[in-house]
């Protein structure tokens, strides 16, 4: 292009415009070049005064609405850790990647964070599918993942710390509570059709039939994203169960609860217990559609303890007064703190040493917003289950709190 004289006549507007069009290509090429640069050191991305971690959640796509809270909480925790002096005298630097609600992308970005950026830990994933996609990468590259979502269990990887509840922690105490408080004998199970609801329902059914001596009068699964619950609602009317036990996820929830209400099924006539609705979902469903129904979680924003009051205040200061905090958001907040405790105990960022320190069963957080948690050698947390009753304003009133429950990802007799 230097020898303009060569074909000056033809350098009209079209060509300039075309050259502009080539700009994005240039940007891409330039960024490709930077790929070739070798990583800064052979080990992890740890210098004398910084340590780098990764955050890997969906910022785009259908899961973004759910995962935003989690990554906000992780950033808040990291900010607070940095303000209190960092970890082993080092400030934490964050590299954020977008999983884009696409499971293969989670695997690709995990590999990028571990191999290219050599991060010391990753806080991320939300759905089981994204975790399952990323897991082989973490095991192969010996990374460390803090996974915040309540999930189906049946997994215990050396390279993952699970900061949410596994299925039995969430389910069993809630069922006991509803059987005792409401005298429930018959249950209708409904969930979205994928691994987490199916496993959860399997555990629930065994517990209802074998322990509570109750009866499951119906079990139904709807495809993810389905919005037609008419036939299920008709069956429920026919069977008249004491309790509807629900694990409907994502956007389907909105249709499910609105159609229930439209069919005249409300909390005055029917007990409904769900294991898939947190404050985040209620934002979409609307508190008035849920009023009086129950959720079992380990955390509710309305919990009244000094840890939680401080956490909610700090969260709203950082992310705005409108933000709500759900169960997973709180569990995500625990991740960096648990990592800090394990690293300080191990005295190094080395993954093997941090995992070993975590597995000794004495890492605890007395400052957790949910109250108190302790890390079990099986990589899951000791935590309490809580039943919350939803109110019109989208907050829940905690009506039951269990004792600390031991995590049991491979429950005997429930498989």
């Amino acid at each position: 292009m230097s020898d303009k004289s060569d074909n000056q006549r033809s350098w009209g507007r079209r060509k300039v415009v075309r050259a502009l069009g080539a700009l994005p290509l240039g940007i891409i090429l330039a960024s490709q070049l930077s790929w070739a640069a070798p990583a800064t050191s052979t080990g992890q991305a740890v210098t004398d005064d910084t340590v780098t971690v990764g955050i890997l959640h969906s910022l785009t796509g259908t899961m973004a609405i759910s995962e935003t809270g989690a990554q906000e909480a992780e950033k808040l925790a990291i900010k607070q850790i940095n303000e209190s002096g960092g970890i082993l005298g080092r400030q934490i630097k964050i590299i954020q990647e977008d999983g884009a609600s696409d499971w293969p992308t989670f695997a690709e970005k995990s590999r990028k964070l571990l191999v290219n950026d050599k991060v010391a830990a990753v806080f991320g994933c939300w759905t089981s599918a994204s975790r399952k996609a990323a897991l082989p990468v973490f095991e192969k590259e010996n990374g460390l993942l803090y996974y915040p979502t309540f999930y189906e269990g049946l997994e215990q990887s050396k390279n993952v710390i699970y900061t949410g509840q596994e299925a039995t922690q969430q389910i069993l105490d809630g069922l006991n509570w509803v059987a005792k408080e409401k005298g429930a004998k018959t249950f209708y199970l409904i969930g979205s059709d994928y691994i987490w609801p199916r496993t959860s329902m399997k555990i629930a059914r065994k517990h209802i039939e074998n322990v509570l001596g109750g009866k499951v009068v119906g079990e139904e699964y709807k495809p993810l994203g389905d919005t037609q619950f008419g036939s299920v609602i008709n069956k429920i009317r026919l069977k008249k169960p004491d309790v509807i036990y629900a694990a409907v996820v994502g956007g389907s929830n909105v249709a499910w609860f609105k159609q229930l209400k439209a069919a005249g099924i409300n909390s005055k006539k029917q007990t409904l217990l769900t294991i898939s609705v947190t404050e985040d979902e209620v934002l979409g469903i609307g508190g008035e559609n849920l009023e009086g129904f129950y959720s079992i979680m380990k955390y509710f924003q309305s919990q009244d303890n000094p840890n939680n009051v401080a956490f909610v205040k700090a969260f709203k200061e950082m992310w705005g007064d409108d933000s709500v905090i759900g169960d997973v958001t709180q569990a995500a907040y625990l991740g960096p703190w648990l990592w800090k405790a394990a690293v300080e105990k191990a005295g190094t960022f080395d993954v093997d040493a941090v995992v070993k320190a975590s597995e000794e069963g004495d890492i605890e957080l007395t400052t957790a917003p949910e109250g108190y948690v302790k890390l079990h050698p099986n990589h899951h947390l000791w935590s309490k289950a809580r039943v919350g009753m939803w109110k019109k304003d989208g907050q829940a009133e905690v009506v039951y709190t269990s004792e600390l429950i031991e995590p049991d990802p491979f429950p005997e007799g429930y498989q």
């Binding site: 069009g21 399952k132 082989p136 192969k140």
Partner: protein, 384 residues
């Protein structure tokens, strides 16, 4: 030699383009990129199989398929089933209620390996299935559609519907297919660790050679008499029919061939990425494959590869640098390419390629003939 030139590469220009591509993926990338990035490029290149198949089907055949993900997925799943069975040996799965079956079956209370999984214990059957199952499936769809003279937008919609049906089927039958999680945690191939860097590098080269072979085979089809009939059908289908050709059979053939190519890509994808999930079967990936072909230039086999690479490089680079804005940048990239290079990247080469050769001539003149620059310009001006 003329056979090689004309039948396999098109012409001299085609040969040059082919050599540049081969040099790029076989030499430049492996030298420039570390193993992680090379593996990423390997993943992108598996999508290029589908893009190349769309050049045949859509660019030359005039039949837009919005369901190439179906065949990519079938190929990928076939390979994943074999690898999963190997990973689910009774020793590896001792913790399950039923050892020896894939973990997701155990979670779904399945106690026996389903019949259709049985043959996938054999590697040779798997390779056979990767090639043949999608072809048969394409034959069924193709015969049902083309024999009834369903084409154009209706065909596109039907392929899209089939891809949705297949996704729903896979997600719904999670005990048999792994559901929305897909088939994950694949580690070895006949005992050989496929997650190691050396295995990934080897797969990258196998992938490249297969892709180049597919391009040559496609070029052979396009330069043959069949290719001309294909073009004729695209431009005036009735005229070809009235000339006595059975249009439907030609369309079925190219659809089956395109399906087979896509399936090879799918199988290579599973090998390199280590899992397969329904997110490669549905509408979105299928449309993305069309975008790859469109960006590359839908009349250019080699352009399709560049289109795939550009879009995926862009995706990765933008989302790494601007995780919150990258979708907008991708949108901008699409708009820019479509607005300014309506014929795709291949069109860019067509438009500017000769400038490059001219400039080379110009420089040659400058040096070899020691003429003044002004003379040279005049000389070139008179040439063109």
């Amino acid at each position: 030699m003329s056979f090689v030139y004309e039948k396999l590469f098109g012409d001299k220009k085609g040969l040059i383009g082919f050599c540049i591509l081969a040099a790029l993926i076989l030499v430049v990338f492996p030298v420039m990129l570390d193993s992680f990035r090379l593996n990423l490029v390997g993943k992108y290149l598996t999508y290029a199989f589908a893009a190349v198949s769309l050049v045949l089907l859509w660019g030359y055949g005039g039949t837009l398929s919005l369901g190439q993900g179906i065949f990519f997925g079938i190929g990928g799943y076939a390979m994943a089933m074999f690898l999963k069975l190997e990973a689910s040996s009774p020793e590896n799965t001792a913790i399950q209620s039923t050892p020896g079956i894939p973990d997701f079956m155990d979670w779904n209370q399945i106690t026996e390996l389903p019949l259709f999984w049985m043959p996938f214990h054999s590697f040779s059957f798997t390779l056979f299935a990767v090639l043949v199952v999608p072809t048969i499936f394409a034959y069924i769809i193709g015969a049902a559609m083309f024999k009834r003279r369903v084409g154009g937008v209706y065909f596109a919609i039907i392929t899209q519907v089939v891809s949705v049906i297949l996704t729903v089927l896979i997600v719904g039958q999670q005990g048999l297919t792994g559901g929305i999680n897909g088939i994950t945690d694949l580690r070895t191939l006949n005992g050989w660790d496929i997650t190691s860097d050396s295995a990934k590098t080897l797969f990258y080269f196998i992938n490249c050679f297969l892709l180049l072979a597919v391009i040559i085979a496609s070029r052979f089809i396009l330069t043959s008499k069949f290719g001309r009939i294909l073009l004729a059908m695209r431009d005036k289908e009735d005229r070809v029919r009235f000339s006595g050709y059975d249009v439907a059979n030609f369309k079925i053939f190219i659809f089956c061939f395109a399906a087979m190519i896509s399936a090879i890509g799918g199988a290579m994808f599973t090998l390199q990425v280590g899992f397969m999930s329904p997110s490669f079967v549905g509408i979105v990936p299928s449309i993305e494959m069309v975008i790859f072909a469109a960006i590359g230039g839908r009349m250019s086999l080699i352009g399709a590869v560049y289109g795939t690479l550009l879009i995926n490089f862009g995706k990765t680079a933008f989302s790494e640098s601007f995780p919150e804005l990258w979708l907008f940048l991708m949108g901008g990239l699409f708009i820019a390419v479509v607005m300014f290079f309506p014929n795709g990247l291949a069109g860019l080469w067509e438009d500017y390629g000769h400038h490059l050769t001219k400039r080379l001539d110009f420089i040659k003149n400058l040096f070899s003939k020691s003429k003044s620059a002004a003379d040279a310009i005049e000389l070139k001006g008179s040439k063109s």
